[in-house]
Amino acid sequence: MNEMTNKWIGRRTIRPDGAEKVTGRAAFAADTTMPGMIWGKLLRSPHPHAHIRAINTAKAEALTGVKAVVTARDIVDFPVDKSVMLGIQDMRWMCRNVMAREKALFHGHPIAAVAATTAEIAAEACKLIEVDYEVLPWAIEIDDALKPDAPILHDFIRFEGKPSNIAGKLEHKLGDIAEGFAKADVIVERTFTTRPVHQGYIEPQACLVSVTADGKATIWSSSQGHFMVRAMTSMLTGLPQSSIRAIPAEIGGGFGGKTIIYLEPVATMLAKKSGRPVKMVMTREEVMRATGPTSASKSTVKIGATKDGRIVAAQGAFYLQAGALPGSPIRGSAGCAFAPYNIPNVLSQGFDVVCNRSKVTAYRAPGAPIGAYPVECVLDEIAEKLGIDPLDLRLKNIAKEGTKAAHGPVYPRIGFAETVAAARAHPHYQAPLGPHQGRGVASGFWFNAGGESSAQVNITEDGNVVVTTGHPDIGGSRASIANITAELLGIDYRRVSVLIGDTASIGFSNLTGGSRALFASSMVVTQSIEKVIATLRERAAQIWQIDPEAVTWAEGAAHPAGKNAGNFPPLTLAEIAAKASATGGPIGAGVQLNTTGAEGGFATHICDVEVDLELGIVRVVRFTAFQDAGRAIHPSYVEGQMQGGVAQGIGWALNEEYIYNAKGQVDNPSFLDYRMPVCSDLPMIDTVIVEVPNPKHPQGVRGVGEASIVPPLAAISNAVHNALGKRFYALPISPPKVLAALKTTA
């Protein structure tokens, strides 16, 4: 299916959800209402760390207008001594994140919830809930949490036999690093830090839940997977999955942050108790205080190379902040850090550190930017020391088909070298730089993912097509599915309608995450369409009274396979559909798979910055991203993913950070003071799509959503070094830091 004669695959068709979105009609979670609906609000912990001795809700319950109050007692408990996994989430932590149990673990941790006839009454009632706290000392930063006398968040966590805030460790090993470093002519070892950054989705979490008297729940919410919403709500409320219908709203951004839930189980219990539909909508402040950012990190990376630029050994220790409950993305950091290179001796370790801030949630290539940042900066120093062009250094050590990666796999055909070569050959790489400008490069890897996917393809009675899949569309997957369907059936893409089914109308489909949605759903859609085409050929054969084997499908119609088959004019999709009932009934097919074969994604970036030497402001003035997409089914949305990842990476590198005050509270819980880049902060981000088809996918697709955020942190840092001759080992490279550094050198 990767022929260049493709008519629709690779075309920039109009997205099915476009008109609704640009005219403001798309319904997001907070747009949903129901007769009799009431409002839920959460009471949140005023302390970053405290034992909860008692909660008295009597006064709140007595307030006129209050219909239900919920505490941790209403949420299913998963005892800490037994892990219960749902995907990568441990329900022991999820139940405590949704509602604090024995302890409040961060400022903003939910303690109780109220549903009332108005949001104001619910908020008022929250204030009437009496909580007896025993306030405890807290630890916000990694260094604080690792001190010998640090307050311990969870006394059941042990590390090396002792109570600790290190909740987990992961190690990837290849060869013997001691032997490797012994062969090195140059060794660079550096320690780097990054700050927590938020996914920054525009749409705050929101849901509406209705529970009928017979215990059937309907949930309207915005998430990266309504099957995850159903499963988690089921586990946290005790309702069976068959009694929960989760309906996906359009989603206003997720970036990983909506791969878990916060409100749905609480709203479900409030709805169950009150007998009324309950709506909950977070404020931006709640989003910033209590929904996951990604981890802060402290990493030490050591790389050794020979004079001619062969990397002989690499070591990394990545400490990631998990937030209040275990589960930071150490797998992404330790696994992706060295994955782009063919290094014989590797030791890569990740450490999961709990501390009194909101539990981290997946953020675009979770952990991978944190892992790649120190590695790609150290490589820059090695290239400098050896006098080798940094892209050439990467090419010399490039991972390719057959390379064994420290995190496990032996790579099949991958397109990494092609991205580096494309960058090397691009005019940007040779373009002259202005005063106070500098250029940096970096590469990055993301695992990508397959997993469960379901699709149903139906031919309508008038000969058009409805495709239903089960993954929320965040980055244009509906448009891509329309292209593939049109291509395979040989019809105009405008005859294809693509919908996201709810949990009751389509089979289990895993999260839109891990850059998997198009990879996985196009596999099941392709197989469904193959079945539909087989049926269409059978129906034509029936009409012509010939053997189905003697019928071919092309250009949206059945044709006799050759002269021997008979001399019939083609039967179009519409003609066959019109005769469907007479020839055996409605035409459609569904396929469900646990997909495999999602091969890794690689990206290489070139970045130019300009520094205002008097104000310390770093501006990105040019940026070109090169990425292996496998096959770009819809180039606009591949480019969108590449640009989006870069934009978020720029924010992470230059300005975004959580600021905590002395009371252990987030001091900048708004977009005013949490400085995500605005449009005018960014240059037009140029993209070069490299296409090395994934041999394990019918269209050659590789995930593209995440690799794009992996290189920017280092590409920008390296560019700043190139501009100033000074290296920064801590993000963000914000104006006060730059100015202070310039003053010390002056």
Partner: protein, 289 residues
């Protein structure tokens, strides 16, 4: 869950009457781009909101016979930008007002609201101070005038008396060879709050600076008028030594705080940088005039 009343008086007297009668429970609403945000956050809960946008005197822009300007306290930034003459005479002040927020915010936000909100980081205020603008106030006890730099009393506070409303600003006539400029430092390029803001207004005669005023924002509890910086410029040809001296005076005037928006060291350093850059732009404009 208290009730809130909303009134739209047509005359200043009506507005002052209602404001004084409410005894502190009322808030004046100009563009609302501060007030409504604060109300939504629950930071203020007025019992009465007095919308002043329908009062003619508060929404007019008038060029006076002597070449000065009178600007109503509730005039939106976008209206000032549309005025055929204002931006030609006061390009720096107009820039400062138009820096507030975005296109959407400009449709509502007023310089009067910017001043009365009492933020030390308010963008139009240092430019107003540099311009020598005078605020006209009207209250139960009548009308009075107050230099803009005397209006702020501290973060979120002003020296307006209970019941007093800011009617508008008077801008003095411009001598030939005058120019002004306002610059702010923000980490981003838009939609941010000034870490430091600096307004410079000066007059040149034969290349010599004969008059200057400097306003500094976000470096102290209130916007500052920095006379020492102005003095360093006056009498000079704006040579490097004079600019260095003025920058040093600005840095000396700073007594900022360390907060999430900037550090003491950074703000102090940047105040001097912005003074030099703004003075350069103001001088170019003065020469062009």
């Amino acid at each position: 869950m208290s009730d809130m009343r909303y009134v739209v008086p047509r005359t200043l007297d009506e507005a002052v009457g209602a404001f004084a009668e409410a005894k502190g429970a009322a808030r004046i609403l100009a563009g609302g781009t501060d007030l409504l945000v604060q109300m939504r956050a629950g930071a203020v809960r007025p019992g009465l909101v007095i919308d002043i946008k329908k009062i003619a005197e508060l929404t007019g822009i008038e060029e006076t016979a002597d070449g000065g300007f009178r600007i109503g306290g509730a005039v939106a930034g976008a209206r000032l930008a549309e005025h055929p003459r204002f931006g030609k005479v006061w390009p720096g002040l107009l820039e400062a007002i138009n820096l507030i927020g975005s296109t959407q915010v400009q449709g509502r936000a007023s310089a009067g609201g910017n001043l009365c909100n009492g933020s030390p980081a308010a963008d139009s205020v240092p430019a107003m101070v540099a311009a020598g603008a005078v605020a006209t106030l009207q209250g139960p006890k009548g009308r009075r005038e107050m230099p803009v730099e005397d209006v702020p009393a501290g973060p979120g506070r002003t020296n307006l008396q209970p019941g007093e409303i800011l009617v508008g600003f008077i801008l003095p006539p411009r001598p030939l060879g005058s120019g002004d400029a306002y610059l702010r430092m923000i980490p981003r390029t838009e939609m941010d709050i000034a870490v430091v803001g600096c307004g410079v207004n000066l007059t040149l005669k034969d290349g010599v600076c004969t008059a200057a005023r400097v306003g500094l924002g976000a470096v102290a509890p209130t916007v500052l008028r920095v006379d020492a910086a102005a003095k360093a410029l006056i009498g000079s040809r704006l040579d490097a030594a004079a600019l260095d001296a003025a920058a040093a005076a600005c840095r000396a005037a700073c007594h900022p705080i360390d907060d999430k928006r900037g550090t003491i060291a950074y703000r102090t350093e940047v105040a001097g940088v912005l003074l030099k850059r703004a003075a350069g732009i103001a001088a170019d404009r003065a020469k062009g005039a």
